[in-house]
């Protein structure tokens, strides 16, 4: 693969088609969840979960289990810890996340640095490896998409009322702690599956940037979901094609495409609000 102006050549490569399929499944799921991540101010939470991958990889190798499983299990463990400590601690949620993020990262780095051969796994986690996806990766990404659709059917209204007023949500009989926990866990799962594709540095951006663009393009919930999905899909296709032509890191190029779309939507914000 080299830098070229061949706009369609990438479609002839099976690994690029796999990458395209994976992105077309992951990006919309991330974008829709991103609307909740933005409204519940959870971007830092998603960052902490993604950085737990260091320890997850190290634990997988230490205990000889599949690293995908160890990463997801440790990430979810961290997520549950964050939620439970958040309920009991007097520290602000941001401070608590920062402390756990520091523990998860430093523990992972210590464990990995003790085994020199693990450094390459680190690189894959940092930047993702979307061009060498396996059938299992595609299966997991499809699971994320279907799971997100089901989650949005069941949870969307509840999360909407909760984001307006927790007391009002309780008055409506919504078990807000349960739904907040389910949201956090699902964001954790999607983050951990997503970082295999776009890397831990970019996976939160795949949630936040399309969601932020959607806020500029729509006044209501329906429009926001549609806009977030369209921005995510357009960024996926153009980012993937651009990464082929520029010979650049795919995950970062997709996020850059989404960021450009976000910037393009900025001038529309006021007009949409007035409409």
């Amino acid at each position: 693969m080299g830098a070229s102006l061949d706009f369609t050549g990438w479609l002839a490569e099976p690994f690029m088609i796999r990458a395209l399929f994976a992105l077309l499944m992951l990006a919309p799921a991330c974008a829709v969840l991103g609307l909740h991540v933005v409204s519940f101010r959870m971007a830092f939470f998603s960052d902490a979960i993604s950085h737990s991958v260091f320890t997850g990889i190290a634990l997988g190798l230490l205990f000889s289990i599949d690293m995908r499983i160890s990463t997801i299990l440790f990430g979810l463990f961290l997520g549950i810890m964050l939620i439970q400590l958040g309920k009991r601690s007097t520290l602000s949620r941001d401070s608590l996340i920062a402390v756990l993020l520091a523990i998860a990262m430093s523990l992972g780095i210590v464990l990995v640095s003790m085994r020199k051969g693990l450094v390459s796994q680190f690189q894959n986690a940092l930047y993702g490896d979307i061009l060498s996806l396996t059938s299992t990766d595609l299966f997991l990404t499809g699971f994320v998409l279907i799971g997100t659709i089901v989650f949005e059917i069941v949870a969307f209204n509840r999360l909407l009322v909760m984001s307006t007023s927790e007391a009002l949500a309780k008055a409506h009989g919504i078990r807000s702690q349960l739904w907040e926990t389910l949201l956090a866990l699902w964001v954790g799962v999607v983050t951990l599956v997503g970082l295999r594709l776009v890397g831990l540095l970019m996976v939160t951006s795949l949630m936040v940037v399309p969601a932020a663009a959607a806020r500029n393009l729509s006044n209501g919930a329906r429009g926001a979901i549609l806009s977030a999905v369209v921005v995510a899909l357009v960024a996926s296709v153009t980012g993937l094609a651009a990464s082929w032509m520029l010979n650049s890191a795919t995950g970062a190029t997709v996020i850059l495409a989404a960021a450009i779309l976000f910037l393009a939507t900025l001038p529309l914000h006021r007009a949409v609000r007035r409409s």
Binding site: F156, T164, R222, A224
Partner: protein
């Protein structure tokens, strides 16, 4: 039929502290019952107990109902984030329908929402973003979401907080009109004794336990107010307020 709410021996303890101590009170059916008391008196805790999300000892009875009561609630605080892509319809549908609002609102629900918004005086705000509404308009939306539940008990938790005088008076007038039309048993929590005198029939003074309870003209007297709020409420009289239109 209007519902009377009877609270007997209600005690709420949180972290070893007694927040409410053996409350016995009645929210009379079909009238506006005001709940007043200093900060920390337990007013919000009482609301939470009525709504069923604070554990308590004692009994709360909704007389005349053989089903779970429907409670409409206008909260004191909301946190609609500026820039959030949510319309009035989104919020009102989300509270009523299991169908996710992103899949659209069905015609009958939309008609019901339109009628309720007309009733609260904001007929053309149905598709407006929540973050573009004025404080007064937003409170009307919250009142609409409470009324859409066709409540047996309507709880208004300091609904005038943050409103200017005009918005405040318009909102109180609206509550009066809606109350005349529906005769819903209402619990109004407020710090404004003028609002109590002008708009409620009964008043309950709360400070951990019930300090006084009764018809406004009987209970809202200086002796009770001094007992509830301390000596700085000395000199306030409901009759004087009614005569001068003065608000404390």
């Amino acid at each position: 039929m209007s519902v009377t709410v009877t609270v007997q021996d209600l005690t709420v303890k949180l972290d070893g502290h007694t927040i409410l101590d053996r409350l016995n009170l009645t929210l009379a059916g079909g009238v506006i019952n005001a709940l007043i008391g200093p900060n920390g008196a337990g007013k919000t805790t009482l609301i939470h107990a009525l709504l069923g999300f604070t554990p308590y000892n004692g009994t709360i009875r909704f007389d005349g109902l053989d089903r779970k009561p429907r409670i409409g609630y206008v909260p004191q605080k909301t946190n609609v984030e500026p820039g959030a892509p949510l319309t009035v319809t989104d919020l009102l549908s989300a509270g009523l329908s299991r169908r996710p609002v992103w899949s659209g609102t069905n015609k009958s629900l939309r008609s019901k929402i339109e009628a309720t918004l007309r009733n609260v005086g904001i007929p053309n705000r149905i598709d407006r973003r929540l973050d573009t509404l004025s404080g007064g308009e937003f409170q009307r939306v919250m009142l609409a979401q409470a009324m859409l539940r066709d409540p047996d008990l309507l709880i208004l938790d300091e609904p005038n907080t943050g409103m200017d005088i005009t918005g405040h008076q318009l909102f109180c007038g609206l509550v009066d009109r809606i109350h005349r039309e529906h005769q819903t048993t209402t619990l109004l929590i407020t710090h404004d004794l003028g609002v109590v005198a002008d708009h409620s029939k009964r008043v309950i003074g709360l400070n951990v336990s019930v300090q006084f309870e009764g018809e406004v003209h009987e209970a809202l007297v200086e002796e009770n107010l001094v007992r509830l709020f301390g000596p700085h409420s000395h000199g306030w009289k409901a009759e004087q307020h009614a005569h001068n239109g003065r608000t404390v």
